[in-house]
Structures are given as structure tokens and as C-alpha cells.
Symmetry: C2
Amino acid sequence: MHNSHEGQPAIILVRPQMGENIGAAARVMANFGLTDLRLVCPRDGWPNPKAQAMSAGAIRDTGPVRVYDDVAAAIADCSMILAVSARLRDMEKQVYGPVDGAAALRDHGQTGGGIGLLFGAESSGLNNADVAVCDGLITYPVDPGFSSLNLAQAVAVFAYEWRLGREGTQKQPRADNLSPVANKAELIGLFGHLESELDAAGFFFPPEKQTMMMRNIQNALTKARLTEQEVRTFRGVIRTLAKGRGNRS
Amino acid sequence: MHNSHEGQPAIILVRPQMGENIGAAARVMANFGLTDLRLVCPRDGWPNPKAQAMSAGAIRDTGPVRVYDDVAAAIADCSMILAVSARLRDMEKQVYGPVDGAAALRDHGQTGGGIGLLFGAESSGLNNADVAVCDGLITYPVDPGFSSLNLAQAVAVFAYEWRLGREGTQKQPRADNLSPVANKAELIGLFGHLESELDAAGFFFPPEKQTMMMRNIQNALTKARLTEQEVRTFRGVIRTLAKGRGNRS
């Protein structure tokens, strides 16, 4: 199913509001040779006639847009996701410019891993939960006094930069370990497993801190770029510890 | 009056149709620090409420948009103009990619010359008369099967590339002559002078070829990057020849 998008980044619009922006994004993706458009919870549903009209044929020509209920589902087949964000976050994430970000994605894609970018909604952008599962941020060199890009313009800049295929200045550290990086479905599965076991063990106290505590854990483990084998190892660790606890209690 | 735009390229939209595109162009210019927006014959007049709304404050914040009746007036204070065009033309014009085009404009701007870009209308683009007075073309690395960019997206790509300020790979030949290149008002004045004298002398035969003959001459002289002094010299040449002809007849 993914063969037509081989080596391409998925462009993932999270909770997009205006059909016109979805259509304009699809059009400029097609201009620069990108075809893998994914939507998470588009406000006005899908299909959207305004998006079709604004796409100037791109949505018809480049195949189906895929729609998902949440970010986890949209990125499940990817193993490297960057979030396009004007704001820097209180998270330890690698921050790229567009040239280096595109180069890092390309490097990763060449190892066979699925790659993609998250773009936030027009008014609210991405929230911290969206960003927690990303491997880094791309920020654009905007004027700090007027930094808010239109959603489709943000897609345009990346699509252009991708098409140019320039070398980044920042070489990616190459892992000695050539085992493939786990995809997001495996990683998010690990997080879910860990969270349920921690919850059962009464780890989250006070309970209102659960979200933030899990986000910190997610950020830390995402940063590790765990391989598939390492994810399996960690799941074994969790099972073992949980069982041990069960035995003791 | 131009001080606030010092060293910046003017973004010149020729016969733009949709206010939304003008506004989106103004917004993305402001995102990447550009403020000199000029319109030639906007279809729906000016000011345009749809442009204002779509600009997200950029038109208000970055100062007046200037409106002109023709391309000649809009580029009069510039001495290097590139046309953004997907189509290559039957003209001997230098063709740049966006990186090299931005670098060439920057090089010229650093000599103190006014610089700018022409963007054509949504449906029809630039015509050959618009392009004849330009010093070169910028084409984007689009998919040949889906090459038509939205107007505001075309502005976005250039504005981003300008902001990055990358070195082009193609170094501009530096003239030994450091006298400034004539601005477009001087050059277009020379063309007008030449055309009227040629017309008086019966040069344009058959008359329906006048436009094309003048365009060829304009293209040839534009390519020469004449200095102010050279323009004065040519005007003297034309006066002298015309007077001589007058004396003989």
C-alpha cells in the first residue's frame, strides 16, 4: 500500500480546520512531488469540497488522502517523525532548521524507515502530547515579530526544501547498531504497556500528574531511538517487573 | 521613501486576481522579513478587504502596499528584475533556480541597485512584454506533471529562500566596469526614445511586426546590463542618427 510513497515523507496535518488549507497543502505537495497526505481529525470531516477545489486537481490526481482518529494511528508505520513548530518546547528534542531537518529525514528514509512531519492546526498548533512522540522539531527562520505561518505555506516551504534535496550541514550521528529503529506503533505500544503497569502499581501520584509524568517518560524513550529489538527487551523488562511485583504483593 | 526596504527585493504581483492571494503573499513576506509589496493593476482594485483579512495583519503592520498602472512604473527604481515563471521563453534570458536567483539578486543589491521579482497573475502568468524588461527568469524545481503553483505559494518559496540567504552555486560574473547598472526607468526611457525614432523613420514594416521587433531589441539591450553612462551614450547615438537622417531627407 505504501509503495507509491516509497522514501517520501508523510505530511500529517493534525486537526486541520479549513478545507482551503488542506487543498492548498495538497496542491503544493504535488507541485514538489509529494503524495502522502494524512489528516488527523479534520474539523469539517472528509471528503471536503473546499479542499478538493483548492487542490487544483492534486487530491484527485495523487490518490487518496488518509484520515485517522489520532496521531498515534497516523504515524504508526513511521520510525522518524519531526514536528513543524514555531515554538520551542520544554522538552529535550533535537531542533532542526528546514534544510537540516529535511536532510535528517532523508538520511533516515534511506535506511528504509518510514518518515513524516506533523503540522498543527491553524489556530492552536501542536500540543505537547503530539510533540512528545516526535523525534525532533523543525523550526523555520521566520521573523520573530511575525512568526505565524499559514498552514499551507508551512507545508510549501518544507515541500520545496525536500524537493531541492540539499545536503544538511549537520550530519546525523550514525548508530553503530544497524538494527532498524522501532516504528511509532511499536514505541506507542511500549508506552501503553508501561503506563498500564505503572498505573496498576500506583505509580501515578497524585493522579493529576499522570499525563505529565508519562509525557516525560515518552520524551526520554523517544529520544533513545530504540530499535525493534530494544522495544522487545523493554517490554520483557516491564512484564518481568510487573510479575515480580504481583508475586510479592 | 525606500529606506525601510533597503537591500530587500520588491515583490511585484502583476495583475493579481484574488485578494486572498495578495493577502497570503503579504503574510508570508512578513513571516520571512520582506516588506516591499507592489501590485500592478490588481483586478479588484485596492484596498481589498479579502487581502487585508488573509494577511493576518501583515498589510497593516508592514506599511503601505504600492499600486501601479503598469510594470514599467512598478520597476522604475530597480536595476535588476527577475521574473518567476514556470515556462521557459523564446528569449535569451538567464534562467536561475531559486537558490541561485536569490543569490544573484543579493549580489546585485549589495552594489546598491534596486532589485525585485515579478510574479504573474493566477490564471495567465506573465506575458512576453512583462518578461522582456526582466534580467532573467527564476524557475522552481517543480514536478513537470503538476507545475502550476498557487501565486502566494510561489511568493512563499522565494521569501523563504531569500531569508535563508544561501550562497548560490553559480557565481555572478562581475563587471570590470563598476559604474552602476541603469535602472529600469532609464532603460525603458531609452526603449521609448528608440522606438519613436525608428517609427518616425519607417523602420517598422510591416507595422504589425512593431511589437515583436521592439521586444527583440528590448531583450537584446536588457541582456547588456547597460550602465547609466551607457544609456546616456546610446541616447546620444539615437539623437545623432535621427538628426542626420533628418538633415539628409
